[in-house]
């Protein structure tokens, strides 16, 4: 009965209720849309980082945090051990090294990522960004970025010499260009090359070394268990076993900060909305002072009247948040299917924290977070009704009846 009254009371002033609910709904929808697009782009960023410069589990030399050229020996033994940690997972070994790449027409400073041909093509990363030629197959194959291809003026089949130094010796090694990739990020396309692991091992002069041995799961969500299992498996071995977070601290930090900024901003926005709700609600209560006085005189207790007001507030919040969530879900769906294409304004690719992101952002459902925020917004709206309800409970019937409202 209270519920029915509360419900009808809301619609006495249709326009006002509608405006208030719209404000709540818009705030809620904006939050949902932000969550969706953030989740989508973060997941993409993590996946790209994992496939290009890390893994879900990363095994590397103990104690080195920022030296990209640290090497761990016995890499194949580590790879076997890591493989045993999870089913349906791939293990990859990589070497990172820098050097000078020269062609007949020019030279360029490059960063090389040396990978195992077969595994790397399954895992993705630069394999997905190929625009011409093939992936590496023989030990003499090399893949370069589109920017480099232009600067060095080479096409598939032509010769390239990689010069590097390791352990005091300068080495140069001949390659043939096998394919070209393009990410859209200038600082990657003009800087990165992919070569076979064996070739890099020759250059650095260590036949079983790797910079990192990484595990790539099919189900990305299972990474915590995989990391734990790997840590157990590698106990006593002189290596560091890291999760992708530990291996890509910059990416992790970026995501945390970006998420904080986006969602924090929106929540503050929602506070503004709730101030409007407070105003409206207070007024709708004050103008019914006389009516409440009448209710009291026929025997309704102040607490019950207060409860009525609270229920009205709850209904307003509930329907506002519901409406907003529906709106948010609809827009989210569109973002998931169509995405936001910023490639015109940002170029095709963009590098953040060492990882290349596509500039066409797609959203992804993050239902748990959307639910949490829906509840939070409902609570914030509900709080706006508490003070008016309290005021109502302190009403004196005679004073109230004297009121003209």
């Amino acid at each position: 009965m209270l519920l029915r009254m509360a419900f009808r009371n809301l619609f006495r002033n249709k326009r006002r209720t509608l405006i208030t609910m719209t404000a709540i709904a818009i705030g809620m929808a904006l939050i949902d849309v932000t969550i969706t697009i953030q989740h989508g782009s973060y997941t993409d960023l993590i996946n790209r980082g994992v496939s290009s410069i890390a893994g879900h589990v990363v095994v590397r030399s103990k104690g080195v945090s920022d030296d990209p050229e640290s090497r761990v020996p016995d890499s194949s033994a580590h790879a076997d051990r890591l493989a045993g940690v999870a089913k349906d997972a791939k293990v990859q070994r990589r070497i990172m090294l820098g050097g000078l790449l020269t062609s007949t027409s020019g030279s360029a400073a490059v960063q090389a990522v040396a990978v195992e041909a077969a595994v790397s093509s399954e895992i993705g990363s630069m394999y997905d960004e190929m625009i011409s030629g093939d992936w590496i197959k023989t030990d003499r194959d090399i893949i370069i970025g589109a920017g480099l291809a232009e600067t060095l003026d080479v096409t598939e089949g032509e010769k390239l010499v990689f010069m590097g130094q390791s352990g005091g010796e300068m080495t140069s090694r001949l390659f043939r260009l096998r394919g070209v990739f393009k990410t859209g990020a200038a600082d990657v396309d003009g800087f990165m090359v992919v070569m076979p692991l064996a070739a890099a091992q020759e250059i650095v002069g260590g036949n079983d070394v790797a910079t990192m041995v990484t595990l790539h799961l099919d189900d990305a969500g299972a990474w915590p268990e995989a990391v734990a299992a790997a840590r157990t498996a590698f106990e006593g071995v002189d290596v560091d076993v890291l999760s992708w977070k530990g291996a890509m601290p910059d990416v992790d930090a970026f995501i945390k900060a970006d998420r904080r900024i986006g969602q924090g901003m929106l929540f503050a926005l929602f506070i503004i909305v709730s101030m409007g709700v407070f105003n409206t609600f207070l007024m709708s209560v004050l103008e019914r002072t006389r009516e409440f006085g009448v209710l009291q005189s026929i025997g309704m207790k102040p607490n019950q009247i207060a409860k009525l007001v609270l229920v009205e507030g709850a209904l307003l919040g509930f329907f506002g948040v519901l409406l907003g969530s529906l709106l948010g879900a609809a827009f989210s769906y569109s973002l998931i299917v169509n995405g936001l294409d910023f490639s015109d304004s940002m170029g095709e690719g963009m590098s953040t924290s060492g990882v290349v992101m596509a500039t066409h952002f797609y959203g992804a459902w993050d239902i748990p977070r959307m639910i949490i925020f829906a509840i939070a917004c409902f609570i914030v709206t509900f709080i706006a009704a508490i003070w008016p309800a309290w005021k109502v409970s302190r009403l004196e019937p005679v004073k109230a009846l004297r009121n003209q409202g």
């Binding site: 818009i26 232009e150 503004i272 170029g347």
Partner: protein, 406 residues
């Protein structure tokens, strides 16, 4: 007296007025803070990319753009420099010869983006000597000196005072190497320098690459960054640009320019959203105000106040409300901005690299008076828009209806 009436009407319901004002004020302060932060981000992006790397205008060999081939150099560089520096449209100028190289110490080498520069001009252009964190910058007139990005130096395990080997491929295809003394380490914010680059004297680089009196870029800064469209033709007509291609920084790196432009439009979008929400709050309040004073407005109409007069009265109240909100909002926002600009915001544990620029985890904002003006103006516009409908309704109400409502 109408302003007096409008002002006093605001305070009839002190609490409600304050709540509404606070809502709008928070919106304004929030917008000010966000934009200040974003502008700071953009400014740092610009500082590294435009001030350091790209300059305002770049002059290159006609075939250089795109391929950036080693042999596509400007010839007669000394003469060109003299001619350009005489032009009043040139406030700073630097000359660069790019030589990708293998740079290494005893044990390790890395590929590096080495640039041959004239230290005096380069320092005047980029203030690089202020970004030397160990040792010193290149000395004018010296030779066989090198400064390296701090991360690069770390990776190849060299430090100030060490001798490093530089291996390059010359323009004639031959491989050459030279020994250089590392005199300083740089931390510039440009990852291309800090992680994988360095600088040597122009003459040394010219020798290494077997390119006499040549450079890949003559990069210059003009007095007014916003009028590059008109400055470009003037530079092009200078003798120093003869036979060369002249480009603005936006043409050299469109991606960065677009990114910075996008950041600006994001600011606008955010402002609109926040203020729109605040506007809804104002709308709500004005509607309440009109409703509560229905009878009183009826009396005023009975006295002979015209509908337009009623509308004006409501509008005035909305203006007063907005002014209070703006005052509070700008005050809070000003304090917030002061904090963001002076203290900076720690939004990250560690550093962030974005588009090749490294941002320290603590970012300092940038305050632009134009932005404040925009926000204030938009607040008024939105408030007036929001109050428009209640005001119109109030004016159209028949006096008898109004008074019967009681």
């Amino acid at each position: 007296m109408w302003w007096s009436l409008a002002w006093r009407n605001l305070w009839r319901q002190r609490r409600r007025t304050l709540v509404t004002c606070m809502a709008m004020a928070i919106g304004i302060a929030m917008t000010m803070g966000i934009i200040c932060f974003q502008d700071g981000f953009n400014a740092e992006l610009g500082r590294v990319m435009v001030d350091q790397r790209l300059g305002h205008i770049q002059i290159n060999h006609p075939d250089y753009p795109g391929r950036r081939a080693l042999h596509d150099v400007l010839d007669g560089v000394d003469a060109r420099v003299a001619s350009l520096e005489a032009d009043e449209m040139v406030s700073n100028l630097t000359v660069r010869l790019n030589g990708p190289a293998l740079v290494g110490g005893d044990k390790k080498s890395e590929g590096a983006f080495l640039v041959g520069v004239d230290p005096k001009r380069e320092d005047a252009f980029t203030q690089l000597s202020t970004m030397v964190i160990e040792g010193r910058y290149l000395a004018d007139g010296a030779s066989q000196e090198m400064v390296l990005g701090v991360k690069l130096a770390e990776n190849i395990e060299v430090t100030v005072g060490d001798v490093a080997v530089v291996v390059t491929q010359g323009a004639d295809g031959s491989m050459g190497n030279e020994l250089f003394t590392v005199v300083g380490l740089l931390s510039t914010g440009d990852e291309r320098v800090d992680r994988g680059g360095g600088q040597v004297h122009l003459s040394d680089m010219q020798a290494l690459l077997v390119l006499d009196d040549a450079a890949h870029e003559i990069t210059l800064r003009t007095p007014d960054a916003d009028t590059l469209g008109t400055t470009k033709p003037i530079i092009s007509s200078n003798a120093g640009a003869a036979g060369a291609v002249v480009r603005t920084w936006g043409e050299v790196d469109p991606q960065i320019q677009k990114m910075m432009a996008m950041n600006q439009s994001m600011n606008f979008v955010i402002m609109m959203i926040v203020l729109a929400v605040a506007g809804i709050v104002v709308l709500n309040t004005m509607m309440m105000v009109v409703y509560e004073r229905t009878h009183e407005l009826g009396v005023l109409k009975a006295l002979g106040m015209k509908p337009s007069g009623v509308m004006k009265l409501i509008a005035m109240e909305a203006l007063c409300l907005t002014t209070v909100s703006v005052a509070i909002g700008v005050l809070i926002g000003g304090l917030l901005d002061w904090y963001i600009v002076v203290q900076g915001v720690k939004f990250l544990d560690g550093d962030l690299t974005f588009a090749g620029v490294r941002f320290a985890g603590r970012l300092h904002g940038l305050f632009e008076p134009a932005m404040l003006f925009n926000i204030v103006l938009s607040s008024y516009l939105i408030a007036m828009f929001a109050a428009g409908w209640p005001a119109w309704r109030a004016s159209r109400m028949l006096p008898t209806e109004a008074m019967r409502e009681v």
